[in-house]
């Protein structure tokens, strides 16, 4: 018969206490990080001194010394670095904003197309998604940039419709002349949208109280657009277009979108839309067929089933990953540095090369993106909490 194993004696050593160890690990980690940080800091200072590179944020007050090809705010090379960084941020937000809108439209359409019962539509959408997803976004942007460079010279520009010109100098479109009525139109649009919201609310309350159903979709759009339309008509319906006209080597007038902007926009939009399409598809497919059957069995019309059953549930699945795709698109706008679009990273890169102050320039870039990213994450977390479906 084997001996019973010895009962281990009680150990009171503090080294084995869980609490002590926990604290010890954290203290050690903190010390290691602090040490590493100090080491890197001294090295950086030494190296910068050695190479005669300035440090600090004073350079932001200096004139930039270089211009940029396009900007939302007026800019010339005598203005400060601070201003040029601002121009870069605005350019980034500009292409990201329109990119997000276009990618959403394209992505949602493709996502719905992928689950279509029409084989042709579904296969075409699948092909688009697979091709665009599996090619790096860098290649997308360069590809479109190359295509635009192969477009004809402005003198032989393609004219798809009156006043629009596509050439290797970009896209020109006619634009309405600035008119004193426009601020009023803007105000009227806001009033119209508010009116549409109130109308929808009133329709819902009426339905709850009397049971009568009032269609709200098209009337709301009518109200939102109708108010500005009325104001416009009252103002005498002014509409003069500024048409681009060929002067010398390029077009003047109207609005122009530079080839870099277009290439970047198309590249990141097409790439991101493919991912959004997949997200939308999985959102639609996540709804159990049984739900739809139950709704049908209750006698609900297709429109109601969409509005009250399918879309609310699908959105919960679709919105969080889509928000992260929007973020991805914003970060991908940094590819402007490849093709010459003056986004934040492009400008940061140029500044870095001009001043040699790599650390500060890169820090600015990273901080801006980090802010954008954390804001969107915060909003997303809020949304998730609001719409969470409670379970046991």
């Amino acid at each position: 018969m084997a001996d019973q194993p010895q009962t281990p004696k009680s150990d009171n050593s503090i080294l084995n206490s869980i609490a002590f160890r926990g604290i010890a690990y954290q203290v050690l980690l903190g010390a290691a990080i602090a040490l590493l940080g100090w080491y890197l800091y001294t090295n950086v200072n030494e190296n910068l001194d050695r190479q005669n590179i300035a440090t600090g944020w004073d350079f932001l007050e200096e004139p930039a010394g270089f211009g940029i090809s396009e900007s939302i705010i007026a800019f010339d090379s005598s203005q400060t670095f601070a201003r040029i960084f601002l121009a870069g941020v605005l350019n980034t937000l500009h292409v990201a904003f329109f990119g997000i809108i276009l990618a959403t439209i394209l992505g949602v359409t493709m996502g719905i197309a992928r689950v279509s019962r029409n084989w042709l539509v579904a296969k075409l959408a699948s092909t688009y998604v697979e091709i665009c997803r599996n090619v790096p976004v860098v290649l997308h942007v360069i590809f479109w940039s190359s295509i635009i460079r192969l477009l004809p010279h402005p003198r032989q520009a393609i004219e798809p419709f009156d006043g629009a010109f596509i050439s290797n100098r970009g896209l020109m479109l006619p634009f309405p002349f600035d008119h004193s009525l426009y601020p009023w139109l803007g105000l009227a649009l806001i009033v119209g949208i508010a009116g549409a919201v109130y109308f929808t609310r009133w329709a819902r309350i009426t339905r709850e109280q009397t049971g009568k159903y009032i269609a709200t979709f098209w009337p709301s759009i009518g109200i939102a657009l109708g108010v500005p339309l009325v104001v416009w008509l009252i103002g005498g319906a002014p509409l003069t277009w500024d048409f681009p006209a060929l002067r010398g080597f390029n077009y003047q007038g109207g609005i122009s979108l530079s080839p870099e902007y277009i290439a970047l926009l198309i590249g990141i939009t097409v790439y991101t839309a493919a991912f959004i399409a997949e997200i939308v598809r999985s959102g639609i497919e996540s709804i159990h067929a049984g739900q739809i059957e139950a709704a049908n069995a209750l006698g609900l019309r297709r429109g109601f089933v969409m509005r009250y059953i399918t879309i609310p549930q699908a959105l919960r699945v679709i919105v969080p990953p889509t928000a992260s795709q929007f973020l991805s698109l914003t970060k991908n706008s940094s590819l402007g540095v490849l093709i010459g679009y003056p986004d934040l990273v492009n400008i940061g890169n140029t500044s870095l090369n001009q001043t040699g102050q790599a650390v500060e320039a890169i820090a600015i870039m990273m901080l801006v993106y980090l802010t954008i990213s954390l804001t969107i994450s915060g909003i997303m977390n809020l949304y998730n909490k609001l719409v969470a479906i409670k379970e046991r």
């Binding site: 090295n43 860098v138 990273m366 980090l370």
Partner: protein, 372 residues
């Protein structure tokens, strides 16, 4: 009492009536359901049909019939109206292999074959044992490094500055994944730690890396990293870039692994602790094997993304396939046919990524089966 006829009961067999024609002929039924099931559907089919008829033939003409294939001169390409695939025949060596010396390309080809073979073996479920995979990859990396660097066994030495094209893409990709995965596991474990200090550090690191574009990380690797090092100590730019990409990859992967860890029921942790396993023993032997299995599809998706991300080195001047192609197509004789060259590169990426993503879907199905 309900009124019901008894059908075929007396015969003991079942009365089989043939299906109506539209149901019976499978093709007809399929066509009807998929193309013409409703008015809206029919209109859509017709519209798309018109669209295809209008645009597909010209495209096919451009891409195939009028195209210039094989080893032709650039004049021949300019003369034709179709695509110039001859540019690939002409330029594929520098595109695929960069600045690597021409006579030594055979070494790269062998290295690629060995590498791809190793990947295929890794993906086959039958070989999923640590005892097989670890020696496999050590051998794989050793052979590839040997072939690419040379210097012994009579092979001429080729320094890393001359590596380019597909091998460089593979090297960056491998380095990113091989170094990134362990860091990812550590970050994921750290983020779930009960110790607030460690958790805070991991969360900060992960959120910061995920919030900035890869380009900025690459800038840091190229411009800022040398500043961190004392004078005289230098790292090859490729190593720095690989380190940056590995950490970037690790932060995204950490989130996926964290999801996997969360999916493991508390009971597993409790059982492991109850039998006296320490933290690392529990993690390595019990929790991680299960967690990694659960989130394997997500892991593979990020690996695919890492492959695509190697194309970013174009920005900092390393010559992966895309970058090499862009450089090569500056040749004024062939500049007009840049699109064809990019289509070729896109095809290479597509084949690799698509194959991996199909594998990932296959994996998901297999995992779902196992779980039921």
């Amino acid at each position: 009492m309900a009124d019901v006829e008894m059908n075929g009961a007396q015969n003991g067999g079942r009365k089989q009536t043939p299906a109506p024609v539209a149901e019976k002929i499978a093709v007809l039924r399929w066509v009807r359901e998929n193309f013409f099931s409703s008015i809206g559907n029919t209109i859509l089919t017709v519209v798309i049909g018109v669209f295809i008829v209008k645009f597909l033939p010209p495209f096919i003409e451009w891409a195939f019939f009028d195209a210039v294939w094989g080893a032709q001169t650039h004049e021949a390409c300019r003369a034709s109206e179709g695509a110039c695939w001859a540019v690939i025949t002409e330029k594929h060596r520098p595109m695929l292999f960069g600045l690597y010396p021409y006579e030594e390309h055979w070494r790269l080809i062998i290295a690629l074959i060995v590498y791809v073979g190793a990947i295929c073996i890794t993906l086959t479920r039958r070989f999923w044992h640590v005892k097989i995979l670890v020696p496999l990859w050590i051998a794989n990396l050793a052979i590839c490094c040997l072939l690419m660097w040379g210097g012994i066994f009579g092979l001429t030495f080729v320094e890393t500055q001359q590596w380019g094209g597909l091998p460089l893409t593979m090297v960056l990709f491998t380095g990113t994944v091989v170094f990134g995965m362990p860091i990812a596991v550590l970050l994921a474990l750290g983020r779930r730690s009960h110790l607030p200090g460690i958790k805070a550090v991991c969360v900060t690191a992960i959120e910061c890396m995920r919030g900035v574009p890869l380009i900025t990380i690459l800038f840091v690797a190229v411009n800022v990293f040398p500043l961190f090092l004392p004078q005289g100590l230098e790292f090859d730019v490729m190593v720095r870039v690989m380190a940056g990409m590995a950490i970037f990859f690790a932060c995204y992967q950490a989130e996926v692994i964290r999801g996997g860890l969360q999916a493991i029921p508390r009971g597993q942790y409790e059982a492991a602790e109850a039998i006296g396993l320490g933290y690392w023993q529990m993690m390595v032997r019990i929790i991680l094997p299960q967690a990694l299995r659960v989130c394997l599809p997500g892991i593979v998706n990020h690996i695919i993304a890492a492959f695509k991300n190697t194309s970013y080195v174009l920005i900092i001047g390393l010559f992966d396939i895309l970058s090499a192609t862009t450089a090569v197509m500056q040749d004024p004789l062939w500049r007009l046919f840049t699109i064809e060259a990019y289509i070729f590169v896109a095809l290479i990426y597509f084949v690799f990524c698509f194959a991996l993503s199909k594998y990932s879907q296959n994996l998901e199905q297999w995992l779902d089966q196992g779980r039921r």
